[in-house]
């Protein structure tokens, strides 16, 4: 028997020892904490239909109210620049009293100081300082990709070691016999709430990006298709303004596509 085999056996035997039950009080503690914890309502391709229909309407109404509110304050003031009363701060700086500021508040997004290069997908991008990276370990061969962070086919950048409230998920595959337009349309047809799209260019590659709350972009370059998604938890209300469409486009502006470095796989008819 080899030394290698001996160590394996000893390790296996060693790891058999130890507790294998969580105390009842720990289960009770988890239960108590779930009572006080809301489930994340997911924005993006997997969000629930009720939320996806109502949220844009609500945001739209709030934005209109915000614009009217801000407009009325400026119109009513004889000097709208620096001459206003000291107790009346500029509308865009009002912390919370205005229903919704029309101007985006992007003050707390960490800078995009880290760079991730995918080992499989032929893409690199900058991502926020302090975030964590988990690289894809398998090729993406299915027609469309589910954006669970547990799937091994996608690269996954997220905001905390044990937190996934803010994340970027992306993957690529050869488009095979599809035209670039068809491939992109197929990717954008899958995600819930992403029916409305508009053209976008990412590192010179053309494709589509979702409109409104749908933070999904699909592009093709040199016969390879890329899908990039930003998953933003709405649990923290400030996320909506901090990690908004402009932030997503800021991330996309850092993307570099290098399809020549992607690990190739022939397009296959996967289930």
């Amino acid at each position: 028997m080899t030394a290698h085999h001996d160590l394996d056996q000893q390790l296996t035997a060693f790891l058999r020892d130890g507790p294998d039950a969580l105390p009842d009080e720990s289960f009770d503690a988890v239960r108590d904490r779930t009572e006080q914890t809301r489930q994340r309502v997911v924005i993006g391709p997997w969000r629930s239909p009720t939320v996806s229909k109502l949220l844009p309407i609500g945001l739209g109404v709030a934005a209109v109210i915000g614009v009217l509110f801000i407009g009325s304050r400026f119109i009513g003031s004889p000097s709208s620049n620096v001459g206003g009363p000291a107790t009346q701060p500029p509308a865009s700086a009002a912390p919370s009293e205005a229903p919704v500021s029309a101007a985006p508040s992007r003050m707390s997004a960490p800078p995009l100081t880290q760079i991730f290069t995918s080992p499989l997908h032929g893409i690199s991008m900058s991502y926020p300082e302090g975030w964590f990276a988990q690289a894809a370990t398998q090729l993406w061969t299915a027609d469309t990709i589910p954006f669970d962070f547990s799937i091994p086919q996608a690269d996954f950048l997220h905001d905390g070691e044990a937190s996934f409230s803010l994340n970027l998920v992306f993957a690529s595959q050869p488009i095979g016999a599809s035209t670039p337009e068809d491939w992109v349309a197929q990717q954008m047809a899958g995600p819930e709430g992403c029916a409305a799209t508009e053209p976008i260019t990412v590192d010179g590659a053309t494709g589509l990006i979702g409109v409104g709350e749908c933070k999904v972009a699909a592009v093709t370059a040199d016969g390879r298709g890329y899908v990039i998604l930003a998953g933003i938890s709405p649990d923290d209300p400030s996320n909506a303004t901090t990690y908004d469409r402009a932030w997503f486009e800021e991330v996309l502006a850092t993307v570099q596509l290098h399809p020549e470095d992607a690990v190739e796989v022939a397009p296959s008819a996967t289930p």
């Binding site: 239960r31 669970d148 937190s163």
Partner: protein
Amino acid sequence: MYAALVEQAKRGDREAFDSLARQTGDRCMAIAFRILRDFDLADDAVQSALLTAWRELRTLRDPERFEPWLHRILTNACYAEAKGRRRWSEGVRLLPTEAEHGPDEYASIENRDQLERAFRRLTVQQRAVLVFHHYLGLPLPEVAARTGLPLGTVKSRMHHAKQALRASLDAEARSPGASRERSA
């Protein structure tokens, strides 16, 4: 296996999630303890992982993958616990190379305590790979999926972990009093 409960829990059913937690929590505890080698830290990691799972459950598209998904969260929770309350192996530097070791040396290692000490000297990331492979018996691609690592990194981490274990065990065997300790 848990698909029906997962679907219910995704709709906000806390009873269903409680059932899920009770069906998967023991296994999580077993994994966390073996990675962290500390009951309280493992307990905290499992509670943290289960709470994260509850909060993020709606992001799980495939209910059949609940347990691998939970284990990935648990692995991250173990890393966070280890980082937050680093208790072991501060400043320990292991000697390299497995080439110095011969087969007979391993046959003499019978003392579980030695292995415990050597195991604690590994990084928590190395331990996680060993636990998923040697305790759960998962093939390396599945270990990669549950730890969120590329397969190549898992292989490399496994190699270095075993190399470090061997070096640590060998160092103990050569240290004064090691033989007495082994026979105790």
